[in-house]
């Protein structure tokens, strides 16, 4: 028979075991979010295609046509789309997981489960959008008859990095939003500014060399560069110090996120 001891401040050894036990809940919450996503919409799943496509068109016109940013030999839409892929994933995942605890407050205050399940599962919908966008990129590359580079084998590593960055940031925001609803307003700012502060609509080579490392303190810079390098190859060299900064930044974000989340988790039900 399993024995459970409830004590104040007890660092539960069983927490991670519980997390594993509740993996089905993770699955069901993600499944619910996906099912509910496009209920009572007319075009339904097509939104997952329309949104990135229109964003791509706007960014191409603004940065490529009006801003006349350099793209080398790469068609500008493809350049933009490679940047948008991780960025869109990050920003929607941050928004979804950030608000996940508050929007599931009825669960938090009525049922026990490891709370990490909620923000983690809410990232899945964004991940599905990401996969759909990937298909869209493939179609776009086919249209421009552009072959992906051999570096593509490293793509999963960069996807994992994006996932870790989203989860880390999402955990911070989710835990903070339980107590400070201010983050409801802060997150849209982050994602809005981030779009311009990260090299989404342009290539990071336009940033002067001496500012490059400073610029790479934004972990999304290394990730987006990584995506372009993996998919486009060619003249897109990997800026290694930047990538390293990005990996370290993401690791810091993820571990501190889990730490803060675990620390505040116990009082979620009292505060929410």
């Amino acid at each position: 028979m399993t024995e459970l001891i409830i004590e104040p401040g007890r660092a539960e050894r069983q927490y991670w075991r519980d997390l594993w036990k509740y993996r089905e809940l993770f699955y069901f919450l993600a499944w619910r979010d996906l099912l509910v996503r496009y209920k009572q919409t007319v075009v339904g799943v097509a939104w997952s295609v329309i949104r990135p496509f229109l964003t791509m068109v706007v960014l191409t016109i603004v940065f490529g046509k009006l801003g006349k940013m350099p793209a080398g030999a790469v068609p500008y839409p493809i350049l933009v789309f490679c940047g948008m892929l991780p960025w869109q994933f990050f920003s929607t995942a941050l928004a979804e997981s950030g608000s996940s605890l508050v929007s599931n407050s009825n669960l938090i205050s009525k049922v026990y489960f490891p709370r990490l399940v909620v923000p983690a599962s809410s990232i899945i919908t964004s991940f599905v959008d990401f996969l759909i966008s990937t298909i869209l990129l493939t179609a776009l590359m086919g249209w421009y008859r552009w072959l992906p580079s051999a570096n593509s084998v490293f793509l999963p590593a960069f996807v994992a990095l994006t996932l870790a960055a989203s989860l880390g940031a999402g955990l911070w925001v989710a835990a903070l939003m339980v107590e400070y609803r201010d983050f409801k307003f802060i997150v849209p700012f982050i994602t809005q500014f981030g779009l311009y502060l990260s090299p989404v609509g342009f290539d990071s080579s336009v940033v002067p060399e001496r500012w490059r490392l400073l610029y790479s303190l934004n972990p999304m810079v290394g990730i987006i560069d990584g995506f372009r390098w993996a998919i486009l190859g060619g003249q897109h060299r990997l800026f290694l110090p930047g990538l390293l900064a990005s990996v370290l930044g993401v690791a810091l974000l993820l571990f501190s996120g889990v730490w803060y989340f675990r620390k505040t988790e116990q009082s979620f039900a009292d505060v929410i």
Partner: protein, 429 residues
């Protein structure tokens, strides 16, 4: 003696009421504080909030044990700490001090339909809700048909629950929860929903759960349900266990604070009447009577002035609104008291059946058509909230009427096709 499945030792839960919301609110205030006093801010972030001033102990020094297979009711007034206790036991919130040991899988049902999603169909919600309550997918699939049958919503399984009537919604939600199979089940007020027939079904299901050897903690304001289900109850008052004992004792005690001081003039000199004789004591023989049982009040009266010859006595049963429900006059049954120094006796009545609550007794002495003593509010009698009927659980069935009746329905049904007539009698007892 089997070892306890639940052990609660000295449990306490403290809430910080101010919780940094005193001046300004939200982030701005916190940033302000961080700038003004970085050290204490860091200490707060580090987990040691030193805001001892506005603390409320929702639970304090709570200790009890429950052995396997027991069904324990938890009763108490709103705000006594029942819900906090359940939240701590089901790990939704952490205790501030003390310790709980649970030996077995715990499932808690603090609300019916937690996590139901309006846009999803009944079928989808069964899976979702089951997973939220801690069932595995295989388990849900195995019990799916049973759940559907219990909920009686087969036809609407593929309709979004937002199109359900509230009754269907509740039935489906309870059906999922009822098929949990934990070793320890924690239930809060879930019988307060649904119509009477469904409540009965739920109660039956809960009894099955209990007779299946599982341990149940059951919180309710419905004393009827508590007394039917539980053999033992904890009375929670002001965050601690005020009483732990048999179900009837605990319910009586729960009602007891309402008993006591007589409303009328206790001083015999100030009462109406000639005052030759006065009642000197009146005491109900039980703290709490059941609605249908015989109620009795012991009394004493003494001569204070002159003899008055034969006296007749009367008792009035007055409800909370001041309405006299019954005048029980000894003349009506030909009982007279002889002249004496001191007389003790018992006044008994069994009809009408009284509704739960508190009733005032007024006692009267008359002799030769003259009022000798009128003691308004000589005592109060308390009627237990356990209803005298075998089936009623919801308020709908009992809210009308000032008293309960001992009644029966004799039914004779005939079908047009000349089928056999069936006569049935349904009795209230």
């Amino acid at each position: 003696m089997p070892s306890p499945i639940i052990t609660v030792e000295n449990l306490g839960k403290r809430y910080l009421i101010s919780h940094q919301r005193k001046k300004g609110d939200g982030l701005r205030h916190t940033i302000e504080e961080a700038v003004r006093n970085p050290l204490s801010f860091l200490r707060q972030i580090g987990g040691r909030r030193n805001l001892e001033n506005d603390v409320v102990w929702a639970l304090k020094a709570v200790s009890f044990t429950v052995t396997e297979g027991e069904i324990v009711g938890i009763i108490g007034r709103n705000g006594a700490g029942k819900s906090t206790l359940l939240k701590v036991l089901s790990r939704i919130t952490r205790p501030t001090e003390g310790r709980v040991r649970l030996r077995g899988r715990v499932a808690s049902l603090l609300e019916v339909g937690t996590g139901f999603h309006q846009e999803l169909t009944g079928r989808e919600n069964i899976f979702l809700n089951g997973a939220i309550l801690g069932m595995t997918r295989a388990e849900i699939r195995r019990k799916f048909d049973e759940i559907v049958a219990f909920s009686e919503v087969e036809k609407f399984l593929d309709t979004p629950v937002k199109r359900y009537s509230s009754g269907m919604y509740v039935r489906l939600a309870f059906a999922v929860a009822a098929h949990l199979e934990p070793e320890i089940l924690i239930v809060d007020e879930v019988l307060a929903v649904g119509d009477a027939a469904f409540q009965k079904k739920c109660l039956g299901k809960m009894r099955d759960v209990a007779t299946g050897g599982r341990t149940v903690l059951f919180v309710s304001h419905n004393m009827q349900a508590v007394s039917v289900l539980c053999s033992r109850a904890l009375l929670i008052e002001g965050g601690t266990v005020a009483h732990d004992g048999g179900i009837q004792d605990t319910i009586d005690l729960y009602m007891a604070p309402e008993k006591g001081s007589a409303v009328g003039a206790a001083d015999p000199e100030k009462r109406l009447g000639s005052g030759d004789y006065r009642y000197t004591a009146a005491q109900p023989e039980k703290d709490c009577f059941e609605g249908s049982e015989e109620k009795s009040v012991a009394f004493e009266l003494r001569r204070r002035k002159q003899r008055v010859g034969k006296m007749w006595l009367s008792a009035h049963v007055v409800d909370a609104d001041g309405l006299v429900l019954a005048q029980c006059d000894s003349r009506l049954i030909g009982t007279m008291a002889d002249d004496c120094e001191r007389l003790t006796g018992r006044f008994r009545f069994s009809t009408p059946w009284l509704k739960p609550g508190r009733y005032r007794m007024d006692l009267v002495i008359c002799a030769n058509g003259i009022l000798v003593d009128l003691w308004e509010g000589a005592c109060s009698i308390i009627i237990s909230p356990v209803l005298p009927y075998p089936y009623s659980l919801s308020e709908d069935g009992t809210k009308l009427g000032r008293v309960f009746s001992d009644f029966r329905w004799d039914l004779e049904t005939q079908d047009d096709n000349g089928g056999v007539a069936v006569a049935r009698t349904l009795e209230s007892r």
